[in-house]
Amino acid sequence: MAAVGSTADEAAPGETPGAASRRPSRRRDRALAPGVPRNIGWLYVLPGLLFYGLFTLAPMIHTVYYSLFSWDGLTGKTWVGIANYSEAIRDHDLIWSFIHSGVLIVFYAVIPVVLGLLLTAALTRFVVRGFRFFRTALFLPQLIAGVVVAQAWTWIYADDGPLNEFLRLVGLDSWVRPWLGDFTWALPSLGVIGTWVTYGLCMVLFISGVQKIPATLYEAARVDGAGPLREFFIVTLPGLRGEILVALVLTTINALRSFDIVYNTTAGGPGGTTLVPSMYMYQNAFLYNRVGYAAAVATILAVVIFVLAGLVLRVGDRSEAA
């Protein structure tokens, strides 16, 4: 770039001296003021980029690379091209694991967002005093390590744990069951854990978000004759668009990465009813010694996460422009 600059500064033969600087600059960089840090930006970015590239990006590419082989982790690799992937799309276990994830997404994302919106709607009509106190409690689940969450809820769901005791107390003895060991109920039980983990975040996000909506909008709606329901759809919901989007992205990703909780509660059982893709990947890589296949599963999972996140954001952008 320096070379281009210097030739541009000299007058071409035949031009009067000084004409060079009056010619339009031919620099292709984006017309930055003199002395504005230009490519020195790279110097600041490099260290961070190094770690990120070496330990996050490169391994991702490496995973894709492994997925093209059949490998047990010990002996040599055998090239199989996309055979792992064609097996994957026919693999019932894998397909079911994604379906299970889908169910979890409903519990982790959809239900909490709806709960959050309902609660927010109920609270917009007046200022909540002492909210900071509630907020402290509501946020807590997000910060507890997955392993600890697993222990706590294993206890709650235990045969002699609080949930069953509560059911017995209110006379619903027929509902008592070994929740996390039940073929039908294990997955929903995990789902409820997920709802517990994320609903507080949604509530806090929305309630704070609502406080940023100008009170005048509500007043205008009220003067126009809108009742509480209309108010919600006309003022609250649009005003929370950003927050809802973020909540959906965060909670969906939470759902897809629920390895910690699954591993420490049901480990995919009973009978594979709570198998999720991350668990399946772990099993293939470190228990069944099918490293190549596990890599393929990991790649598919990563792609699904990226696509989902992208979709949610795209939908958000478009509805904003609409």
Binding site: Y44, F139, A145, A150, P162, G200, A215, R257, D260, A285
Partner: protein, 281 residues
């Protein structure tokens, strides 16, 4: 804004209920942990005679002294290094324009939603025999520290860039006119102002790193002295639960405690982090 008295009470009631439910699970294992091994514990298990023996047992048998030490070393290192690196990258993306920046930044953003599931397999094999260096990093602190710095820098870049963009450009211009170099502007003018943002970033990274499980499970399971607290808990629970649920509950409470304390004291940083992130999205 007139809402009926009943409506108010009802709403507060609902809010309180949800808040209670949010902390109940932790409460329930706390109660469980306050019993001794021999109590027949069922259901709500309110401890009438609180007893700390389970905690003592859990601490020693679960080797949590080592676990906490490992967790702390890893989390502190990752936090410190990521913070420094993110200030640099955030500064670059937030105040400068350079070749390729519009492609590079979205690449960093990707790292925020990156699952460790996608990278854990190669990390396991590559750490066993590091290319070029031919050393074994498996079952060392490095195995946990390096990848987590990588991912934390992705979020940190996003976070610090947002901060740097919120600074009035005239401040940077004034410093440039006064004669500061790009580093001078960063160090003398911007960093002093960045303390709240860096605090929040550090707090979030620390908690996230402390709680990380999958990486620890795959990369340091082989060495007990390097196991992080959550990993230790997982092994301990697997082994001891059938025999002594109170001990396991105590262990779980122990592992959660540090973060809960940090949270209670530094609340506003957490909340600011979670909420502000929403706006910048």
């Amino acid at each position: 804004m007139t809402a009926g008295r009943l409506e108010r009470i009802g709403s507060y009631g609902v809010l309180a209920a949800f808040a209670f439910l949010a902390i109940y699970p932790i409460l329930s294992i706390l109660f469980l942990a306050l019993h001794t091994k021999t109590d027949l514990v069922t259901g709500f298990a309110f401890p009438l005679h609180p007893d700390l023996s389970s905690f003592k047992a859990a601490w020693t048998e679960g080797h949590f002294a080592t676990g906490f030490k490992s967790s702390f070393i890893v989390a502190a290192t990752v936090t410190a290094v990521s913070a420094v690196l993110s200030i640099g990258t955030g500064y670059a993306f937030g105040t400068m324009r350079f070749f390729g920046d519009s492609i590079l930044f979205p690449i960093f953003l990707l790292g925020i939603i990156f699952p460790y599931e996608a990278t854990v397999i190669p990390l396991y094999y590559d750490f066993q025999d590091v290319p070029l260096l031919h050393i074994n990093l498996l079952n060392t602190y490095w195995a946990l520290i390096l990848p987590q710095i990588g991912q934390s820098v992705a979020f940190g870049t996003f976070w610090m860039r947002a901060f740097f963009r919120s600074v009035p450009p005239s401040l940077v211009e004034a410093a440039r006119i006064d004669g500061a170099s790009s580093f001078g502007v960063l160090w003398r003018v911007l960093v002093p102002q960045a303390r709240p943002a860096v605090m929040t970033l550090s707090v979030l990274v620390f908690v996230y790193t402390w709680n990380e499980f999958l990486l620890a499970l795959v990369l340091v399971s082989g060495s007990e002295s390097h196991q992080t607290a959550p990993l230790g808990l997982s092994f301990f629970a697997g082994a001891a639960r059938a025999g002594d649920p109170t001990k396991v509950a105590a262990a779980a409470v122990l592992v959660a405690m540090p973060i809960v304390f940090v949270y209670l004291f530094l609340q506003r940083h957490f909340v600011r982090g979670m909420l502000a992130g929403a706006l910048k999205e």
